[in-house]
Structures are given as structure tokens and as C-alpha cells.
């Protein structure tokens, strides 16, 4: 119970304090991107880390949330902010419909099915040029919150930071609740979970819908921050990155997803010194993380700290 509050307090403190150390406004932008990406990753942690169900199509839901911010105002005349919950509901609904058949699959089969879903979303976004603007992307109107128009990295830093804090709070609540225990149970042994009365299909579907809603909210915030979205937001590479974040941060850990997201957003920025070898170095680092901290950064470090005599 205390670990839950400690996690939230540390995250809140980090969000509140690090702007003091930003040498320029550019850093607000990068950090805002970390928070919003982390929000998407936390959703995937509920599905992958807690329920043990892999998804290689998470960015598909991020894309649905992001495009809702463009298409809602354009075709339905809705205020852009109203499209944030709308996109979340839409993504949740699609996850519900898609999840029912594909969550019967396990392991590699589920991975391939979710991969197919993600590719399908990206394909629609690219090819329906008349509606989505195609590969060039589409503009997002500037949102207005009670007369305040958030502009620039600093405003989005605080908005995304607050959203992440709420997202982490909800995910930690789930983890330490009856629902979370049901997910953890079916993760460890589906057979045993069923025999103690857990409706495995229903609980997997819930986790899938939760992950989709997180992804859509993250996508919507990201789209508003950038004022623009392209189909890359829903692309396969993005999905793989989300999985990587959750895995290197530590599958079992909610804050791990945040650390993993920070690593994957910040490392490429830091690695620009390697010029064209940037991606090679990033790949190498991910491999090293996996070899030496297989349980993930956060659980791995926690174990190391505990082992050290007090």
C-alpha cells in the first residue's frame, strides 16, 4: 500500500522539480513527449505486465485517439477537447469488438493477430486520403480549456504530466485490487484462474479495453500538443517501441513503463552524437538492458538496492 503512494509521490516530485534544470524551452517539449508516451506505455503495462497478454498493435489505438482529434472537429464540428473522451470511448469500443475474437489466441498467435490489427489501422489512415489526409497527415485544431489556449512545450509539459500522474494512479489501483489479482492470476495460470471462478475471457478483454483507452488518450494528447498527426503515430514501429518500453522498464512494474518510455524517448536524443550509428547504438543498448536486467530496469534496480546491506 505504501509502495503505491511512494511511487506516485516520486513521480509527482520528478514532474514538479525537473523543469528547474531545463536549460531551454526545448526540454519542456521533450519531457512533455516523455510523459505522454509513458501514459500510452502504462496502458500497455496493464495488458502485458499485469494480464500477460502481448499486443503488437498498441499504436493502432494511439492512432485512433490521435485521429479522433482531427476528424471530430472536421467532420462532426465538435470542439477538439470533446474529442479526447470520444476517441477514448471509440478506441475502447473497437478494442471490445476486436478483442473478443483475438484474445482467445495465446502467445505468438495473439502477437500476430494484434500486429495485424495495428497494421490495419495504419493502412486505413494512410490510404483513406480523402478523409485522413493520407501519409501527409492532418492538422489538429488548437484546443481551448475554459478560455485558456495551451501553447508551447511548457503548457503541454504540465498537462501531460498531470495526465500521466492520473494514469499511473489508476494503473496502480488496478494492480492492487480484486480486478488486478484476477489479471495476475490468469497471467500465472489460466487453468487455475478458471477453476477459482475467474472468467478469463472477460478479464482479458477488460485489460485489452483499458490498454486501448490509455493508448487513445495518449494519442489524443500527443496530437493536440503537436497540432498535427501522421499515420506514423499508429505504425508498426511505434507498437514495437511501446512493447520495448514496457519490457525494458520492467513488465511487472507500473513505474517501469514510465522509465522505459523515458529511455526510449530520451536515448535517441542523447545518441544524436553518434550520427548515423544512432539506431545501432540504441539497439545495442536495448540488448544490453535485456541481457543484464532481464526483469526490467525498475524491478532490477529494486532488487539490487534491497540486496545491498543497509
Amino acid at each position: 500500500m505504501n509502495a503505491r503512494w511512494a511511487t506516485l509521490l516520486i513521480l509527482a516530485a520528478v514532474i514538479a522539480v525537473i523543469p528547474w534544470f531545463f536549460p531551454s524551452g526545448y526540454y519542456f517539449r521533450v519531457a512533455a513527449l516523455v510523459w505522454v508516451t509513458a501514459l500510452g506505455a502504462v496502458g500497455l503495462q496493464v495488458l502485458m505486465g499485469q494480464a500477460g497478454q502481448v499486443s503488437l498493435g498498441h499504436a493502432g489505438f494511439v492512432g485512433i485517439g490521435a485521429y479522433a482529434m482531427a476528424l471530430g472537429p472536421k467532420y462532426l464540428g465538435l470542439p477538439v477537447l470533446a474529442c479526447l473522451p470520444l476517441g477514448a470511448v471509440l478506441a475502447g469500443l473497437i478494442a471490445f469488438l476486436v478483442g473478443r475474437p483475438i484474445l482467445r489466441l495465446k502467445g505468438h498467435y495473439l502477437a500476430v493477430a494484434t500486429l495485424g490489427f495495428g497494421i490495419l489501422v495504419a493502412l486505413v489512415l494512410v490510404s483513406e486520403i480523402a478523409i485522413t489526409g493520407g501519409p501527409d497527415g492532418i492538422r489538429i485544431p488548437r484546443p481551448e480549456i475554459f478560455g485558456w489556449r495551451p501553447r508551447g512545450g511548457e503548457a503541454w509539459y504540465w498537462i501531460n504530466g498531470a495526465a500521466l500522474l492520473i494514469g499511473v494512479w489508476l494503473a496502480l489501483n488496478i494492480q492492487h485490487s480484486p480486478s488486478g489479482r484476477a489479471l495476475a492470476a490468469l497471467h500465472d495460470s489460466e487453468v487455475a484462474a478458471r477453476t477459482i471462478g475467474i472468467d478469463v475471457a472477460r478479464h482479458k478483454l477488460r485489460a485489452f479495453v483499458i490498454a486501448a483507452v490509455y493508448g487513445a488518450v495518449a494519442g489524443g494528447l500527443m496530437a493536440m500538443m503537436n497540432g498535427f498527426v501522421t499515420p506514423d503515430a499508429a505504425g508498426f514501429l511505434q507498437s514495437v517501441e511501446y512493447v520495448t518500453m514496457v519490457v525494458i522498464g520492467g513488465l511487472a512494474s507500473v513505474p517501469g513503463a514510465v522509465v522505459g518510455a523515458a529511455a526510449l524517448v530520451l536515448l535517441p536524443q542523447a545518441l544524436t552524437v553518434f550520427h548515423e550509428y544512432e539506431h545501432a547504438v540504441l539497439g545495442l543498448l536495448i540488448m544490453l538492458f535485456m541481457i543484464f536486467l532481464r526483469v526490467g530496469i525498475v524491478p532490477g534496480l529494486a532488487t539490487l538496492l534491497r540486496r545491498r546491506p543497509a
Binding site: S177, P178, R181, D188, A192, R194, G197
Partner: protein, 262 residues
């Protein structure tokens, strides 16, 4: 005689060309222990898997507390009062011992997804109630001091008892135990023996698969013997251990002597 809580009748199942079970049945009564014995490969665990809804039988009928549950999925059966343990442990290894048993309280937890997400009082109450129930059950099976250890770090005998505690957490009317004493030392076996007797004394119908003949003869009211997927014999422990066919197929002379000592 007490009420029949679980009956399996004319159960048959085939895997490919092999008839794993053919025309097998039993009746388990409230407050009694029924043992299913037989050589390896006789179909005992297959029968459990059918009765608990994991496999679907080709023929036959399963009735639980008066309801036909032949096609019911496991989680429905659990809600109707059937719970089980596994021969090859199915513990939630990443959870603590207490969390394993708390998971067994799933059906008793009155909390919605929304309450869980927002940590509303309903969710906190459910957590507390499940924790209390789990601690009581862990004390009953002698694992109270290990409550907050990861299940993966517990010794084998403790895990066997942890599974029983988790199964009991669902408040079953019928409990299926698949080799609860397998791999346990004599002290652990005696503990499990007492535990099963205490569970049955509460009015739960216990169905037991076990190879430890002394234990079977001591605590069972009825014994069903399977051999190669068929019913070889059924009756009281005394009837079964003196049955020449049972001695020939399963007990052997040494086993018959051992059973007689119980």
C-alpha cells in the same frame, strides 16, 4: 446417508483413437471423502478434468448439487461450488502466498472495475475482507508465517497446502484434490491427512486422487478403482482392498498388506 453433491455418470472421452475413459462414474456425498485410485494412466486426472470443466466428455453427465453441469465452463462450476487442486502444481508463482489465497476469493469480492480503478471504498473493503479470509485459511493449512513470501520461494509441501487453501477460499461444496500428498514426507502427509478430514467434517464433499494407500484407506468412506479408463471396482475401503482384481491390477501383494495396516 448424506446428500449426493456431485455425481458423474457414464463418463467417456477419447483422445485420437485412445479411449481414455469409458463408462466411468461416482457419487460424492456431503461430509465424506471419496478416493479415486488406480495405476498411472488409468484416467483419474482426466476424470477430474472433465468433472471440473476443463475437458468436455464425449458421453455422460455431471450433476453438481442437483444441476446438470456437463457442459459448464470451469468458472461457472466454481460459482456453483466446485473447486480443485492440481497434481502438477498450478500455483500463482509470482504472487505471495496470501495473494494466491486472496485470488481464490474472487467470486466473493463485491467490487466493480470502476471501484477498483478509483480505489473506492468497495474496492478497499473487498481487499481487506479477502486478506482477512486468506490469513485465516493460511493459518488453517499452517502457512500463516509465510503469508507475504512469494509463492515461488515456498517448498513443495507448502505449495500443496497453499493450493488447498486457495481452493477452500472459494467456499466450495465439493473439493477435488489431485494427489495432495504426492512428493510429501510422512510428516507433511499426516498434516494433509488431518486437513482433509477437517474439511470433510465441515460438510464438504471431498474427492481425492491419491497413491498413498494408507492415507486412502484411513480417510475415505468410498473408494473407486479405475484401470485403463474403466471402472474396476467401487466400494468401502475394506471391500476394495480385498478385491482380487484390484490386488492384481493395482495394489499388488505389498500394497494390499500396506492397505490392510491402515
Amino acid at each position: 446417508m448424506s446428500e449426493v453433491l456431485l455425481s458423474a455418470d457414464n463418463i467417456g472421452i477419447g483422445f485420437g483413437g485412445l479411449r481414455a475413459l469409458d463408462g466411468v462414474g461416482f457419487e460424492a456425498r456431503a461430509g465424506e471423502v471419496l478416493a479415486i485410485i488406480g495405476p498411472n494412466g488409468a484416467g483419474k486426472t482426466t476424470l477430474f478434468n472433465i468433472v471440473s470443466g476443463l475437458y468436455r466428455a464425449d458421453t455422460g453427465r455431471v450433476v453438481l448439487a442437483g444441476q446438470d453441469v456437463t457442459q459448464a465452463p470451469p468458472h461457472r462450476l466454481a460459482a456453483l461450488g466446485l473447486s480443485r487442486t492440481f497434481q502438477n502444481l498450478q500455483v500463482f508463482f509470482r504472487m505471495t502466498a496470501a495473494e494466491n489465497v486472496m485470488a481464490g476469493r474472487h467470486l466473493r469480492e463485491r467490487s466493480s472495475l470502476l471501484a477498483d480503478l478509483l480505489r473506492l471504498p468497495a474496492a478497499r473493503r473487498a481487499n481487506r475482507a479477502s486478506r482477512d479470509a486468506a490469513m485465516a485459511l493460511l493459518a488453517e493449512v499452517g502457512l500463516a508465517e509465510h503469508a507475504d513470501r512469494p509463492a515461488g520461494s515456498l517448498p513443495y509441501g507448502a505449495l500443496k497446502r497453499l493450493e488447498i487453501a486457495r481452493a477452500l477460499a472459494t467456499e466450495p461444496r465439493v473439493l477435488l484434490l489431485d494427489e495432495p500428498a504426492a512428493g510429501c514426507n510422512p510428516v507433511e502427509t499426516a498434516e494433509i491427512d488431518h486437513l482433509i478430514a477437517a474439511v470433510a467434517a465441515r460438510g464438504i464433499a471431498v474427492v481425492l486422487i491419491e497413491h498413498d494407500m494408507k492415507m486412502v484407506m484411513r480417510i475415505s468412506r468410498q473408494v473407486v478403482v479405475l484401470n485403463q479408463g474403466r471402472l474396476l471396482a467401487a466400494g468401502t475401503p475394506a471391500e476394495v482392498r480385498n478385491n482380487p482384481e484390484v490386488i492384481a491390477a493395482y495394489l499388488g501383494l505389498h500394497g494390499a498388506k500396506e492397505a490392510a495396516l491402515a
